[in-house]
């Protein structure tokens, strides 16, 4: 994996610097938001976990009760297993799935949906074993123990409602688990890969810009130096020219004086 030296391949310009700085800011905001989401989900997850645990134990007890009522039926009616299995045609006990939004995650929830044998739907409150399609298990317990059978039906219906609730909780639990894992991965990726990369890119661009500035400065200085030398050289040349002129004029005066000396005066005799 690329380590701390990783940076993006960009030209080192001031525009690139601004862009990268903006992206870094975005990544940091994203990181804190995702971390918050992950924490919220984890809290929710723990709450559901507790509920799941409780619900499972409750279910254990409820099923126990149901088994007892079933035992009573067998005692009163004899074995009805075969009869019941043969009579199962259309499920009158179904579930409806609806969606719930929990801190940004869509979770399904199950709802008990009683469909009358004829396809009619009865609201929960009116549902009573007597109202079910008359031919549903009509022959069951006809010989004896009809009341036990009805009672067992009710107890099992209640048990299944608990089971449906438990199933909803469990599905929510599994989905949340997945989502938390994914969010965690994203948070870590931003924290350990994206942000260091962007920071390295910024450092690189700034160092390049500094170096370019230094080069520019150096070049400037060099040019100035050359200019200075040029000017100095020109000045020197000028001064030299001026001096040579003066020298010439001075030399001309020297000849005149020797002529003076060469014309001799006559000797004075006394």
């Amino acid at each position: 994996m690329s380590g701390a030296g990783a940076r993006e391949n960009v030209f080192a310009t001031r525009m690139a610097l601004t862009n990268t700085k903006l992206r870094l800011k975005g990544a940091q905001t994203g990181h804190s938001l995702l971390a918050k989401k992950r924490d919220a989900l984890t809290t929710r997850f723990r709450a559901i976990l507790k509920k799941v645990d409780e619900a499972k134990r409750k279910m254990g007890r409820v099923m126990q009760l149901a088994s007892f009522s079933m035992a009573e039926v067998t005692y009163a009616t004899g074995d009805i297993a075969y009869l019941v299995q043969e009579q199962a045609k259309q499920a009158s006990f179904r579930v409806k799935a609806k969606q719930e939004n929990v801190s940004g995650v869509v979770l399904p929830a199950f709802e008990v949906d009683r469909v009358g044998g004829s396809g009619l739907q009865f609201p929960q409150s009116l549902m009573h074993p007597f109202l079910m399609k008359p031919t549903d298990f009509n022959l069951t317990g006809l010989g004896r123990g009809g009341q036990q059978v009805l009672k067992a039906k009710e107890v099992y219906a209640k048990a299944i409602e608990t089971l449906v609730e438990l199933a909803s909780l469990q599905t929510a639990f599994m989905i949340l688990d997945e989502v938390i894992r994914a969010t965690n991965r994203r948070v870590n990726a931003i924290e350990h890969i994206v942000i260091p990369r962007l920071e390295n890119t910024i450092k690189y661009i700034m160092s390049e810009l500094d170096e370019m500035d230094r080069e520019e400065f150096f070049r400037l200085k060099k040019v100035q130096g050359k200019k200075k030398r040029d000017t100095a050289a020109r000045d020197a040349a000028q001064t030299l020219a001026a001096e040579t002129e003066i020298q010439d004029s001075v030399d001309g005066e020297g000849e005149l004086s020797s002529n003076l000396l060469s014309s001799k005066d006559e000797d004075v005799i006394f």
């Binding site: 254990g60 297993a81 019941v84 009158s92 179904r94 579930v95 969606q99 549903d136 199933a167 469990q170």
Partner: protein
Amino acid sequence: MATSFKDRNLIAVIGDEDSITGLLLAGVGHINEYQKKNFLVVEDGKTQVSEIELAFEEFTQRKDIAILLINQHIAEKIRPTVDKYQQAFPALLEIPSKDHPYDPSKDSVLKRVQKLFGD
């Protein structure tokens, strides 16, 4: 995924005779147009593990089943398959039976939880 669970509305069962009888009595039994039942009666000693596995695979692949109930002692027989099960639908629920009361330590979902929080 959103549409797939809107059509799911059946409860499937893999269990021993007593559990199946009770649940069917409440009305979860269903036979679809291909004469496929949504329940499997497992008889102690008579039903093969491969048969149970097959039914499990079948029920989990069907698109109209929302919840799959399985007796805990039967889940024990196909424990590796059950432990590998990761789908969100259908929801897998282990239920106790008359002779085997509920044991939280064997439940596959609770075991996953333990792994998460055990460390």
